[in-house]
Amino acid sequence: MNNTTLQTRNLAIGHRANKQPQYLQRGLHLALHEGELNCILGPNGAGKSTLIKTLAGFVEALEGEIYLMGAPRTERSFKKLSHLMSVVLTDRIQIPHSRVLDIVGMGRYPYTSIIGRFDQHDRKIVVQALKRVGIEEMKHRFFDELSDGEKQKVMIAKALAQDTPVIILDEPTAFLDFPSKIEVMQILLGLAKDTGKSVLMSTHDVELALQVADQIWLMDKGKELHTGSPEDLVLNNVLNYFFEKDYIYFDKYTGTFLLKTRNGSEIYTDGPQPYLFWLNKALSRIGFNTTEKGVGEPRVVIKAKDDILLLLPDKTQTKFTSIESLISFLKNEV
């Protein structure tokens, strides 16, 4: 195991109402390691943001202690802390006439003197950070004029310029289009692997997180926080324990969330991939439980995208030339 960067002992998170602690989670023993990407997953209201804000020191821990690079964070000065952990938050930033370079440059403030003058080294690190997230060519653009995805990359570059062993991000992929989500995840994964930083992010993009995270923290109100590698969490059903709803479940075989079938009729399917995969998807959308093992009726055999055969228990056979025509036929039958 790589070196531990951040560690919590018996941490309790939540807030105080009339001085009475209202716990979201208690007894947390969590750890971040060098070079690892960690994702916090959980539904809305699970306390992901509160956990992140507690770790970052914006919200007081109700109990327990957070250790950063070996020492309790409460014993460190603001200045020292700013050299150990950087954050990317959901706070909206609106600074008139501010350019990308200005915002990324703020990451260097913890290292500058009282008047905030940059030296050669500071400038070099800012340029490196811009390059790392691929926004060097937009360094002179106004921050206001950037897209949400570009703004997010600027904030990540700011965190990088801060040059800390730990980076914590609160929902960095929220409100981004799908390609931007993947791009941001890629950047964060690369950061952890190439620079040895510990990266912790909360996200709702479960399927993406399962692909890139070294470790997942699963949390929800009233449930104990679970940690583990994504694969273990899938295989021991913990993921379903957290995310299963009346209409949705996590499918272990495809690694995706699927809608639960409503009519529950069984149907056998057969054929080569990728046709079979998409056939199954279409069938489960209209409520069939598909099974590829065994032979029986009703059965659909797909050989090519325009060669589909439906066999019914009364031994009748019908040919279809597209999945769409098959689906509309079955819809009328059921």
């Binding site: 954050v87 006439h97 009282i114 008047i115 905030g116």
Partner: protein
């Protein structure tokens, strides 16, 4: 580039203020008087040294002080419509003055406004104490709430409360007292006498120097308190320092000049758009120069021949300030 233009502008406007008025004095005359040379015109010397010079210096410093205070408030509240008045401190000064002018005089039977130098000093002290009273209230409130929005609302509420108290006092006061209160409320750069000037100048310049040390945390504060803290700023302390610095700048200025509207709100916007920057390393010196220039310009306009004594400074700053604020709101991308 703009900095140099601003500096030249301030010097030019300063000299313009010395030469213009009901008595026109040529540049050479003013120059000689300032250098202590003989001009052979003792009336000119009297006018320049005893009246116009203190007035120009007051305008210069008051303009800078209010502008710095406005910039600090806009930074603290991350709101373009914040200004020196949002914490209710200038309203506190008005209340203090109203209490002295409208109550003390009716009890003692002496109209303070008519009691000469003693009355002037009394008004200044009353304004200062009123402003400090509100500042103390705000600091108390800041201890109880960490939310700047709540603080902003409290400040505005204090402002309303003081205005309505002033309204009640006005209702029960005599016409003569009312007039002296109204005149104070119109603001003036000419209240300061030569002996008062050093105190006024030194305290405000010191406060502005202290503000220079807040430049870096002010830049961080623009990202929001969480980001600022994460980047090493002690946000609680910075908040207190910003309120104190801004509050004292307003309190002292208002005590001597009366309320000057809009200047502190509008100048940071002018400067931001001139310098095309929100970086306080540039903006703070810029705001000091622009504040001085705008105050001198307003004072010059108010004292143009023909207007002499007729145009109160507060009206001039508002007439210039209001269109600027409208322009800022319309120009702002993505709303306020």
């Amino acid at each position: 580039m703009w900095m140099a233009i601003l500096m030249v502008g301030v010097v030019f406007l300063f000299l313009l203020n010395l030469t213009t008025g009901s008595v026109s004095i040529p540049f050479q005359g003013v120059g000689k008087i300032l250098l202590g040379w003989e001009t052979g015109m003792s009336t000119w010397e009297n006018i320049v040294i005893k009246s116009r010079l203190p007035q120009a210096i007051t305008a210069l410093i008051a303009g800078s002080a209010l502008a710095v205070s406005g910039l600090q408030m806009q930074t603290l509240f991350r709101n373009p419509l914040a200004g020196p008045a949002v914490l209710g401190i200038s309203s506190g000064a008005s209340l203090g003055v109203a209490l002295v002018l409208l109550i003390v005089s009716s009890i003692s039977g002496i109209a303070m406004g008519a009691s000469g130098a003693l009355g002037d000093v009394g008004v200044t002290i009353a304004a200062f104490l009123g402003a400090l009273g509100v500042l103390a209230l705000i600091m108390l409130a800041a201890r109880y709430t960490s939310s700047n929005t709540v603080l902003l609302i409290i400040g505005i509420m204090i402002g309303y409360a003081s205005s309505s108290l002033v309204g009640i006092l006005k209702f029960y006061s005599t016409a003569a007292d009312l007039k002296s209160y109204v005149i104070w409320g119109l603001g003036s750069f000419s209240n300061l006498t030569l002996p008062e000037l050093p105190f006024f100048a030194v305290t405000l310049v010191l406060l502005m120097l202290v503000s220079l040390f807040l430049i870096k945390p002010m830049n961080l504060y623009m990202l929001g308190e969480n980001y600022a803290q994460n980047l090493g700023a002690n946000v609680k302390m910075i908040r207190v320092l910003m309120i104190l610095a801004s509050g004292f700048l307003v309190a002292i200025t208002t005590a001597f000049t009366g309320p000057i509207a809009f200047l502190g709100l509008a100048v940071p916007h002018i400067t931001r758009n001139l310098l095309m920057s929100s970086d306080n390393r540039l903006l703070l010196p810029g705001v000091i120069l622009t504040g001085a220039a705008v105050a001198l310009l307003c004072n010059f306009i108010a004292r143009l021949p023909g207007f002499e004594g007729a145009l109160p400074i507060n009206s001039v700053t508002s007439i210039i300030g209001a269109p600027i604020v409208i322009w800022v709101i319309l120009k702002q991308k993505g709303g306020v």
